[in-house]
């Protein structure tokens, strides 16, 4: 095809030395490069934190194991959780938002390109600072290593008396840095989506991904300050002798929990909604139907955003709130199921009667639908306060949130990677390796996390570094660990695929999926300026209008 001979952007031109390429990455303010750098860095941290999870699972595979020392185990689950949430999840949110939002709204870049680069560098240095704690935390005192207080760092364990050395300080400061990065990136994405839309793209003609990114980034703006404020208070406690969380001077450890979960619960929606966003773009294209109930999808997302700010204390049923509090937070938790259910039905409605193509992105989306449904159902179970009292801090909870974050978030993101990789690189990911990745990961996921519910029901608490034989947990834990190995192999397949297809993949062309949103109207990979001339749209599916001038969408909208 003639159009594929349009000059490819800087990265691909022959004769550029690797030092120049690195320099290009360091000084770039291009939203596409930064978006890919976000996603690439996130995948790097995903591998590191995934290896920690693997080590944790090896330790727990058999009773009385001595593979990991107890304190190493504590550091691993803390670093695993913190990395996965802040360095993987949040970075993927920023990365997908950065790469896709300007392309989808027909803009040439983000509203504030330099601020965008600033956000990325804050993020990566925050992440490196967190890992530097292994070397830096002992400090002059000679105590401490990486943080070992869990990703929610409950007081008073984080107090000066219980957390000596600087491990908790590294946790605080690195997350404050990444939070600054996330905040400026959120401001940037919102300003871009609101102010830089191309002609004709009214709010209700935006692709759903852009809508969902706006909601997510508003949630980041509202939720992250709660964490930052609590962390600043903790710093005051640790360094200036403050008493915010010092129970011996009248402070309260429960206040930390309230502040943390005021951030922490919206955070899990912040992670899952970008997966919703990917699924909402991919399912229509591979079902060959427009999305079912677009305005309702928008409304449901806004509802999730609003309700998510008033459910935080369902993480705290066991601290002994008044029963009014328990009932309020149980009811608000159930309320979230309504908009989420609407979304699931709308995706099914989109697929219903469609000519479904089972390409890799769609496979991940279908698995996502089933798994996210089950994750939601166990979430409902945990929302029942008395049930929660039985199972809080058990492996049932661990299984539940890994079901949402792996089975939901990660599957949605994998779908997105297979879907947009051809756009970003110009080459398709290899289908055979992709299928291997899909099946190994899906099977491994179910072997691990379906099984993990049961030791929880049998009373196995989370965060124990080992357990005695004879409690009925041995076989279940062994199966769980085997599944983890399968998932590790699957991620290896993805990594090989990403690297190999970069140079050797099949040429994708501009629009390999016959899709309808604006990013597919430009070349793959897009030039630095995205669009040669500013596009103009008249409906939600501008490329449909272009390909079917005899029956365009705008006649019916």
């Amino acid at each position: 095809m003639a159009t594929q001979e349009i000059a490819l952007p800087g990265l691909k031109q022959p004769g550029i030395s690797s030092i120049d390429r690195l320099h290009g990455l360091v000084v770039t303010v291009d939203h596409k490069k930064l978006g890919l750098m976000y996603v690439g860095t996130a995948i790097g941290f995903l591998v590191v934190a995934g290896l920690m999870a693997l080590a944790i699972r090896l330790q727990l595979a058999v009773p009385n194991n001595t593979f990991l020392e107890p304190d190493v185990f504590n550091r691993f689950f803390t670093m695993h959780g913190t990395s996965m949430v802040f360095l993987v999840g949040m970075a993927l949110v920023s990365g997908f938002g950065n790469y896709l939002v300007p392309l989808m709204i027909g803009a040439r870049d983000m509203a504030f390109p330099r601020l965008n680069a600033f956000g990325y560098w804050m993020y990566i240095f925050g992440g490196l600072l967190l890992y530097f704690s292994y070397l830096g935390a002992p400090g002059l005192a000679g105590h401490g290593s990486a943080p070992d207080v869990g990703w929610f760092a409950y007081a008073p364990l984080t107090g000066r008396a219980f957390s000596r050395g600087h491990s908790t300080d590294y946790w605080i400061l690195s997350l404050l840095l990444t939070s600054v990065g996330s905040t400026v990136s959120a401001i940037n994405v919102i300003a871009t989506a609101v102010s830089l839309r191309c002609k004709g793209m009214t709010l209700m003609r935006m692709p759903l991904l852009v809508w969902l990114m706006i909601v997510v980034n508003f949630m980041i703006l509202l939720a992250l300050p709660a964490l930052s404020a609590a962390q600043i208070m903790l710093l005051v406690d640790r360094y200036l002798g403050g008493h915010f969380f010092d129970t011996q001077a009248g402070g309260s450890a429960v206040v930390w929990q309230h502040f943390f979960w005021l951030f922490g619960h919206p955070e899990v929606y912040i992670l899952i909604i970008p997966a919703f966003a990917c699924v909402s773009e991919i399912v229509p294209v591979f079902s060959r139907k427009p999305i079912f109930g677009y305005p309702v999808m928008v409304g449901a997302t806004v509802m999730i955003g609003l309700i998510s700010t008033s459910v935080w204390a369902h993480h705290m049923f066991s601290v002994g709130m008044a029963s009014v509090g328990n009932i309020f937070f149980a009811i608000s938790t159930f309320t979230v199921a309504v908009p989420t259910g609407i979304k699931i039905f709308n995706w099914l409605g989109t697929m219903y009667g469609g000519r479904i193509r089972f390409d890799l992105p769609m496979l991940f989306c279908i698995a996502f639908l089933f798994q996210f449904l089950i994750a939601g159902l166990t979430g409902m179970m945990l929302g029942v306060a008395p049930f929660n009292w039985q199972l809080t801090d058990s492996y049932f909870v661990v299984a539940h949130f890994h079901y949402t974050l792996v089975g939901g978030f990660l599957f949605g993101i994998f779908a997105g990677i297979y879907y947009w990789y051809p756009k970003a690189v110009g080459r398709l990911l290899d289908r055979r390796l992709g299928l291997l990745h899909f099946w190994l990961f899906t099977i491994g996921f179910h072997v691990t996390f379906d099984t993990m519910h049961f030791p929880g029901l049998l009373g196995m608490p989370r965060r124990i570094f080992t357990y005695d034989a004879g409690r009925g947990w041995e076989t279940l834990n062994l199966i769980t660990s085997i599944g983890a190995l399968l998932q590790a192999v699957a991620v290896l397949c993805l990594a090989i695929n990403l690297v190999r297809s970069w140079k050797k993949g099949e040429e994708a062309g501009n629009d390999p999926w016959d899709a309808w949103t604006l990013e597919w109207a430009t070349t793959s990979p897009p030039p630095e300026y995205n669009f040669a001339s500013a596009p103009v749209v008249r409906s939600r599916r501008p490329l449909w209008d272009l390909k079917h001038p005899e029956d365009p969408d705008w006649k019916y909208e």
Partner: protein, 199 residues
């Protein structure tokens, strides 16, 4: 056909107007800052009266009347400066802009004097009791925002002395003034919570 790099320009509406990205971004910044202050205010209110030892707010706090008047009137002067700027009356703009800086400086100076009095005469430090911890954190967080705002104001003033500030920068000045109004509004909340309700 499917790989066209541009789309046909057949759009009827000629007036396609979107809000300014700067304004949207600043509103977002104010939103997230509001979240930050809310948590500190909530912490302050929650810990009111929970200190195990003295001194209490009633014993040591005086109403900061002068600094409040200065900070609130600085919102008026910055508006006047902005108005003068948009009418191209440069001298008047510089005068009101400088006045805003002076008022902010008086506010910071009287906060400093208040803290000095509290620390050296009343023996209240950030580690004395819960009141000290929450008081210095909340008021200090606000004061640090005043310092940031004042630095921005000073920067603009220095640039305007050298003639670098032109009508092109109108929206940027407007953004600084929005931020400044926000810092003032936060002070109204802090004043009410700390010095009126909490005393």
């Amino acid at each position: 056909m499917t790989n066209e790099a541009s789309l046909p320009k057949t759009f009827e509406a000629s007036d396609w107007k979107l809000p300014s990205a700067r304004k949207v971004a600043l509103i977002c910044l104010i939103l997230t800052e509001t979240g930050l202050f809310s948590i500190f205010v909530a912490g302050y209110v929650f810990y009111l009266g929970k200190s195990l030892t003295g001194p209490t707010p009633r014993e040591v706090l005086d109403l900061p009347v002068l600094s409040t008047i200065c900070l609130l009137s600085s919102s008026v002067t910055i508006t006047l400066a902005e108005r003068a700027f948009s009418r191209d009356r440069v001298g008047r703009f510089k005068m009101f802009w400088l006045l805003t800086i002076v008022l902010a400086a008086i506010f910071l100076a009287s906060t400093a004097a208040e803290w000095r009095r509290l620390i050296y005469q009343k023996g209240l430090t950030i580690s004395t009791n819960l009141f000290g911890t929450t008081f210095y954190s909340l008021v200090g967080l606000h004061a640090s925002h005043v310092i940031v705002g004042m630095s921005l104001l000073l920067l603009v003033f220095i640039f305007s002395l050298r003639g670098f500030v032109t009508i092109m920068h109108r929206e940027r000045l407007q953004m600084i003034s929005w931020y400044w109004h926000f810092v003032d509004a936060v002070w109204v909340v802090v004043f009410t919570v700390v010095y009126v309700i909490g005393r």
